[in-house]
Amino acid sequence: MRVMDLAIKDVLQLVRDWKAALFLLVMPIVFTLLFGLAFGGAGGAEDSRLPVGLVDREQSRLGASLLQLLETSAAIRPEVLTGRDAEPKRLEKRLQDGELAGVVIVPEGYEQRLLAGETAPLTLLADESQGAGTTARGEVQAAALRLAGSVEAARLGAEAFAERATLTDDEARAEFTWATIDRAVAAWQSPPVTVSAAQSGALAAEAEAQTMAQSGYSHTSPAMMVQFAIAGLIGAAEVLVLERRSRALRRLLTTAISRVEIVLGHYLAMFAMIAAQLIILIAFGQLLLGVGYMRAPLATGLLVLATALWTASLGLLIGVLAKTEDQVIIYSLVPMFILSGMGGAWMPLEFTGKTFQSIGHLLPTAWAMDGFKNVIVRGLGLESVLLPVGIMLAYGVVLFALAVWRFRFE
């Protein structure tokens, strides 16, 4: 009971400070929305393809064919730019502002050279150091190859036509060439061999669920939840520091409460605060953002429990090690940055190198992310979260043991 009394005291102390709500709820919600939208939003948007500008300097028939081929892309959406919109400075600005993933420029003389069987490269303005630029390059290159292939097919056919029909009329040859090009470009709307994509996991059969799984929120919701669970420790750890500095902790020792009960009371308060935070944020994610936490409620519950337990252990350790409020902030925010950055909360670990991924998976944040994604993206159940939960509990035990070992009552 004394443990409960102390825990309730700590929790009341925290919730009376409205600024705690800022850290615990407002900031994770704001960041989930902001970064979720930035990473692609709710999914299922009318056209979520990357916009790529198309500037045809010679307004040619091949330029129109190129547009036709670009429009079949599943990854990019061509946007024809003319007049002032096609001026170099304006193009560069739109690229730098991120309005366009790239700009394809059909140079003057492109059509003539291609029809003559010469090399005629398109120009693509894009920053290949960014993901959007790399995607734009791949898609534009594919379309350029299809167009050049169509022209080559027409050229070979025209040669065969000329040989067999003793064709000498340039106009007839040109007519044949364009007709073949148009046929070939149209044939690319339904090519003989294609690549089809399918997803693994229990969500595979649910088209709408797949879209949700690919939404930006499926990453940012669990990521911000885990990150701000750590950030929220500032308030909880400060309670411990203030108690020690004000000598209230020493006075507590003169009462009937034991040292073990004091440690457990503070730990329970931190656990309760973080668990409540996670539950509220999960409800927000499930009800308002459509993130599928409740597909496997028991699995999600275990993940909440494990995340709250290891985070509370970290909070206890911070409260134990910090001597001043400033140190609480440093000892809370620095681990938050490192655990979030290296654990895949800021950016999925798949975008990093192999070594970094291995190191990242030494951290509990990476396992928390894996566990939540198994439920909300892969649509898996209880079995899939057992390993992440086990590892997080192990971290909880180690951090708690460290905190108890370092706990000083004076």
Binding site: G149, V193, G216
Partner: protein, 426 residues
Amino acid sequence: MKTLDLAYKDLLRALRGVSFWAFGLAVPLLVSTIFYFAFGGLAGGDGGLDVAATRVQLVNLDRPAEQAGGFHLGAGQMLADFVKSDELESLLDVTEAADAAAARAAVDRQEAGVAVIIPDGFSAAVTIPGRQAAVEVYQDPTLTLGPAIVRGVVSQFVDALAGSKIAAEQAAGELSERGVAVDPALAQTLAVAYGHWAETLGEEQGAALLQVRTPGSAAEAPDAVGSVISMIMSGMMVFYVFFTGAAMAQTILQEEEAGTLPRLFTTPTPQSAILGGKLLSTLVILVVQVVVLLVVSALVFGVDWGRPEGAALAALALVVLAGSFGLFITSLLKNTRQSGIVYGGVLTMMGMIGMIGIFTAQVPGAGGASFSTVALLTPQGWAVRAWQLLLDGGTLADVLGTLAVMLVLATAFFGLGLLRFRRRYA
């Protein structure tokens, strides 16, 4: 002189404290180092991003179609050999599965990121008119980059095969419509000629089709790792300079609570000298921080901060803006107890909003113009924008507008902060 004395006192105290060294220098360099290794860093000697090879399960169910004259075209085997080839070794870690079910199961168990399933009838679709087939790429839904790479590689090969058939069919079709008899030999000749053309194109590795230029700079391809680290370092510098600015301004509250500030006010030293001394020490410490971060990042990570005059002005604007913003934020607080949540919460939030473009830069389809605008709702966003313009090779003229906005904001924050403090201590 009193202003200088007070500034010197505060400067010494800041340099003796852990906060400046930890938050001001160590953490931004540490976070940048983390990302440096995250994206390859030393390992990626060619400047390319060091992305882990995608684990692929490969199944070839294709039974080659028999062509005229008993010729078998093993298009499926050609695709399988291409996926397993040495040139893709750094991108794909390929294992051959027994069948499609086993391949999919491996992805379901997260033993692989992608399964490539070449269907039965693939060769027939490449050679026999009217036939179609699709290579299935079955992926782990939590992955984006790896499946995109696999789809890109497979699509490139499949497109080449499709192009050959389309070329032969459509040319033959047009010839037929114009009364030219098309026998299998002619169709094969067209396909072979097309194949030679495609092969020649392949040897040029796409340069004959497309030339890529990075906007705002010369034609050379960017150093991907360097570009990412430069962006992150600029964001981290801005983020933590604002923290230091606020931490320095917090000393006003600390001295108020300790009683030393009220005692100072009882001396002949004017209030303006006291507050001026605090602001001066803040600016000096911020200059030290910015210079150290710029120099260390240039030497260790090879960050090219752009033209010196632009970098100097951007650094000055950042220092003035961060210092005045810290003063303004602190003027809103009643005591140091409030500062923890405000500095940790408000500054973290604003800093992350200001850096949103940096976080989303590597994810295709992420970010966009609207988020660049959202970032500009914060002073940190303007500072990040100034550095991004310089890192992109911008000239002084390109960045002057942004610097002007930063200075206007700094003036506004300074004015408001000073007004509030004067009222407080009137």
